[in-house]
């Protein structure tokens, strides 16, 4: 009853890779929730929280990106998942970096662009993690 998938990609993320990848999501999500709180209350501390959470998200995302790049180089079949995973992470990182600069602006100058970018970046991080970790699960079934 073993599943014989068409062998496109069978890499199992290492624990460190998995931790960094999965950790990216709550960091960017925390940034988004903090942005929403600032948007609703004008309380500046929420905006400070958002700045640091996004910086943390970028750190995790950037390291994950290195893992993804190594995987991509080492993959036998680069088309499909390996490249999709890498490109998604890359876009997440670049938009996240723009979002970090956006959050470096003073007070309400962060709004509304910072909030919109946080929504997009969180969504992208979620999808990238989903794709990246799906392989972890299929790897378990071997």
């Amino acid at each position: 009853m073993t599943v014989t998938a068409p062998s496109t990609y069978r890499y199992t993320p290492s624990p460190l890779h998995a931790i960094l990848l999965a950790g990216t999501v709550p960091l960017f999500l925390g940034g988004l929730l903090s942005d929403i709180a600032y948007f609703q209350t004008y309380q500046i501390q929420w905006s400070n929280f958002a700045s640091w959470l996004i910086a943390g998200g970028l750190l995790f995302c950037g390291l994950t990106l290195l893992f993804a790049l190594v995987n991509l180089i080492r993959a036998n079949h680069k088309a499909g998942r390996p490249v999709l995973y890498f490109v998604l992470l890359l876009i997440t990182f670049v938009l996240g970096l723009i979002n970090a600069f956006e959050h470096a602006k003073d007070a309400w100058a962060v709004m509304p662009t910072g909030l919109v970018l946080s929504i997009i970046v969180t969504g992208l991080a979620f999808i990238a993690a989903w794709i990246g970790l799906t392989n972890l699960r299929s790897g378990d079934e071997q």
């Binding site: 004008y42 500046i44 600069f101 470096a104 003073d106 007070a107 309400w108 100058a109």
Partner: protein, 430 residues
């Protein structure tokens, strides 16, 4: 063909530089500056000073004037005071304890520190004396120490007032003293939590009854929250006898120097306005200070130009905001102001000298000089005149940054330079 394309490139680059508002000539100065639309670029334009030593060089002064360094190796000189006997007091120090709240604060503090001196602030007053009047200040001695980032200085009725970053204090002074006779007496505490803008500027009313202290805002534009702006961005009037205080004027983002107009007794200030709205916003200004007046910060600038970064907004306050008297140009960072005297020479007899520390938030730096704003009928009139330049050289290196300027009634301008840790003296040639 090649010729015309070269011309095109030239004209395009000229247009570009005009668009960028790079040259100082495009900076709106005077009573009615033209303000561009605010810019919200992803990264603010920056050009940080690259310090080098003066060496054999000196600042450039107008023909018929000379400049000399009368004290060097100071510990961050900020403001100076000329005592009745001609002795000069220098406040030395560096204050501020603002926490770094965002990743940006960590990065920006490292970048901006490159443009400042590495010397530790002296927290003291140094006294200079030229006993024989030959222009050589042969005595240089510590008048008082263990102060807390002293900045503003004032003298009246035998009392020497010093505005530390956290309190206004007073020394009893007898003519000829070279050392304070004891620890100072506290007149009143000053707002000092965070101290994002820590400098406390100071002047005294001609009768010695009231002291005026300038207190800067605790942020660029409320990015540390509105709660920390209580008692900030305003000028206090303090009763010299009792220490009782009241806000005299508000909405002044960072009133870095105060002075009294001799013939009218009117209070004047120079104010550093907000950053990160583009290279040509917001103009720093020179203005008379109206009692009870509100000057815009943080809700608006130059009258009713709303700054959307301060939320929630306050349309009533915006409506009440007073337009300042005279724009000095954006980001020049005016840190010193003093009214002139006829002894400074005919061309510079009527008006104010202003020390400009120089910009960071601009691709083409401005400031880094001492200017003279001529007055007529008690009001600023006409274009500012460069008085001391060359602090930022043509080679792009910065040798000094002017802070306090003080007119010595005997016919000299004293300039504190907090990058070179030097005090300069400009005199007319005999």
């Amino acid at each position: 063909m090649r010729h015309s394309s070269a011309l095109t490139v030239l004209s395009m680059s000229l247009m570009l530089s005009a668009c960028g508002g790079d040259g100082e000539s495009t900076q709106a100065r005077g009573a009615d500056p033209k303000l561009p639309e605010p810019e919200h670029t992803l990264v603010p334009s920056m050009k940080i000073a690259e310090p080098v030593a003066w060496g054999e060089q000196k600042p450039t002064v107008p023909e018929g004037y000379s400049i000399t360094a009368i004290a060097t190796d100071l510990k961050i000189p900020r403001q100076t005071l000329v005592l009745p006997n001609g002795d000069i007091l220098i406040a030395e120090g560096r204050g501020g304890s603002a926490a770094k709240l965002k990743p940006k604060d960590v990065i920006a503090s490292v970048i901006k520190a490159q443009g400042n001196t590495q010397v530790k602030g002296g927290n003291r007053l140094t006294l200079l004396r030229d006993a024989d009047g030959d222009g050589n200040y042969e005595v240089k001695t510590v008048f008082a120490e263990n102060l807390n980032a002293p900045y503003g200085l004032a003298f009246a009725d035998g009392k020497l007032y010093v505005a530390n970053q956290d309190a206004l204090v007073r020394f009893d002074y007898e003519e000829g003293q070279t050392k304070a006779s004891g620890a100072p007496t506290k007149v009143t505490d000053l707002p000092s939590a965070i101290n994002h803008h820590w400098t406390k500027s100071l002047t005294v009313s001609p009768d010695g009854r009231y002291l005026y202290v300038g207190i800067g805002s605790n942020s660029n534009v409320t990015e540390r929250g509105m709660e920390v702006e209580v008692d900030r961005a305003m000028v206090w009037q303090i009763d010299a006898a009792t220490g009782a205080h009241k806000p005299y004027a508000t909405g002044l983002r960072n009133p870095t120097a105060l002075t009294i107009q001799p013939e009218t007794g009117q209070l004047w200030t120079v104010v550093n306005e907000r950053d990160e709205l583009g290279p040509d916003l917001v103009p720093d200004y020179l203005s008379s200070v109206k009692e009870g007046g509100f000057y815009g910060w943080p809700y608006s600038y130059w009258g009713q130009n709303v700054d959307t970064r301060a939320q929630p907004q306050n349309p009533d306050k915006v409506a009440s905001a007073i337009k300042p008297d005279y724009s000095l140009g954006s980001h020049v960072a005016a840190l010193g102001v003093d009214f002139s005297e006829p002894s400074m020479g005919e061309k510079f007899a009527n008006g104010v000298f202003i020390g400009e520390h120089g910009s960071w938030n601009r691709p083409n730096p401005v400031g880094y000089k001492v200017i003279f704003v001529p007055f007529s009928n008690g009001k600023p009139a006409g274009e500012p005149i460069d008085f001391a330049t060359g602090f930022r050289g043509a080679d792009g290196k910065t040798r000094g940054r002017p802070v306090g300027v003080t007119v010595d009634p005997r016919g000299a301008l004293i300039i504190a330079d907090d990058l070179a840790n030097t005090v300069w003296r400009v005199t007319r040639n005999q």
